[in-house]
Symmetry: C2
Subunit: 255 residues, 2 copies
């Protein structure tokens, strides 16, 4: 098949513009196209909101709508986009950071987070991976694995990160069972001294486990005494809301 000429040219122009904003004649030179043709293509791109022009001047640059397009590049982005408002709401409610993680082998990979408004806060783990057994999101993932996969995982030696880190297969098995029952997991200072965190599962439209929502804060203030259960409720509600935003339909029966 043959590439549609005007589309090929339009994207050649876009590429030039993305390197640096330019006017019609600049582009005419760099692409080798007649100015009238470049003008027409630019006009079309502008009307489609792909590019915008410098106020007054006729210098064109990539427009913000491209960012929207780009946000859908992969499922992770999709998840993040869908979750964004819910994360905000949760952070506002709890006053602590909330974020998302996805499973990556025997690791938990952090894909996004909204930080707490507190000046003193936990660092943002976005982009990093942590072992599955030291973070609550990891336990949540284990709770959705087939039993034999969990057993295979538990046969591996597990690292200790703090004095509190649980590496006993027996205790981890218990936690997994508990996670299935309660729908969330709390972990206290097992990854890092001074940090507590909670997580709950997020599902996609087919009901498959997609990732986990977590919230964490400095242990001196999070969770405050009697709030432990209330926070858990909020986090699970938010996780469900995100799942539903992704098309997941909860069924009224079941635990």
């Amino acid at each position: 098949m043959k590439i549609v000429q005007s589309i090929e040219r339009a994207f050649d122009i876009l590429e030039e513009i993305s390197k640096s904003p330019a006017g019609i004649s600049d582009l005419s030179r760099s692409t080798g196209l007649p100015t009238s043709t470049v003008a027409r293509l630019l006009y079309s791109l502008e009307k489609m909101d792909v590019i915008e022009r410098e106020e007054g001047k006729s210098i064109y640059r990539i427009g913000p709508s491209v960012v929207t397009l780009a946000s859908s590049v992969n499922p992770t982005q999709r998840l993040l986009t869908a979750a964004q408002p819910h994360l905000r709401g949760l952070v506002e409610m709890l006053g602590e950071a909330a974020g998302l993680a996805i499973p990556a082998g025997y690791d938990v990979h952090y894909i996004g987070e909204i930080d707490s408004p507190h000046p003193v806060q936990i660092r943002d783990w976005t982009g990093t991976s942590l072992p599955i057994h030291i973070v609550p999101s990891g336990i949540v993932f284990l709770a959705h694995w087939p039993d034999d996969a969990v057993e295979a995982f538990l046969r591996h030696p597990l690292d200790r990160f703090t004095a509190q880190t649980v590496i006993s297969p027996t205790v981890i098995r218990q936690r997994v069972v508990e996670a299935k029952e309660k729908g969330h997991v709390w972990l206290f200072e097992e990854f890092s001294e001074g940090i507590n965190s909670i997580a709950a599962p997020v599902f996609n439209h087919t009901g498959l486990l997609l990732g986990a929502l977590h919230s964490h804060g400095p242990s001196y203030r999070f969770p405050s005494e009697e709030m432990e259960d209330v926070i858990a409720q909020r986090v699970m509600q938010t996780a469900s809301a995100i799942s539903e935003a992704l098309g997941f339909v909860p069924n009224r029966d079941s635990k």
Copy 2:
């Protein structure tokens, strides 16, 4: 002028795909175009690396190259992109957060930051604005304003944020002079208790002040005793490196 038909159609299709990946006939239905036309447009977009297809299947989705396009949306992004590696280097060297801010009227607007590796850290101010007189980046901006603009600013009432916040026009004038001499500004707990920070100017290729580079950390560890001057040197060096990455040519004479 008239919009080029194939471009209009191509972006209609892209918009559909960005909502959710789809195949030829799905798109044919949602756009009302004949399948052969949709197929040809998709083929063109695929060849231009704008979309990619699900391995084997013929489900199309937005490709990664769009992310590249999107990264050039505006000058701020350009600054951020150029500064990225330098920010990383600085954070690695200092062990504290570093970021960029641009002037916005009588406010300093934070546009990006790389956080410190410490678990206990300062929150990320990206996206927020702070008054010009309480942050070192603000004083840096003042140092590059015409004198009468500075005087006009000082006639406005200035808010106090902490016990340490300086709101005296006289002291601020002194600081501006000092900023011009030294090329950087230190401020101690003037915006928030427990936070110290330093800033230095970043210039664009025409030598115009573009923004400021800053670094900040908890006051109990930043800056450590005798490191104050060394840190200042590093920050200024990094700011210069960013300016040069943007095409700024420093002249060896000057002050």
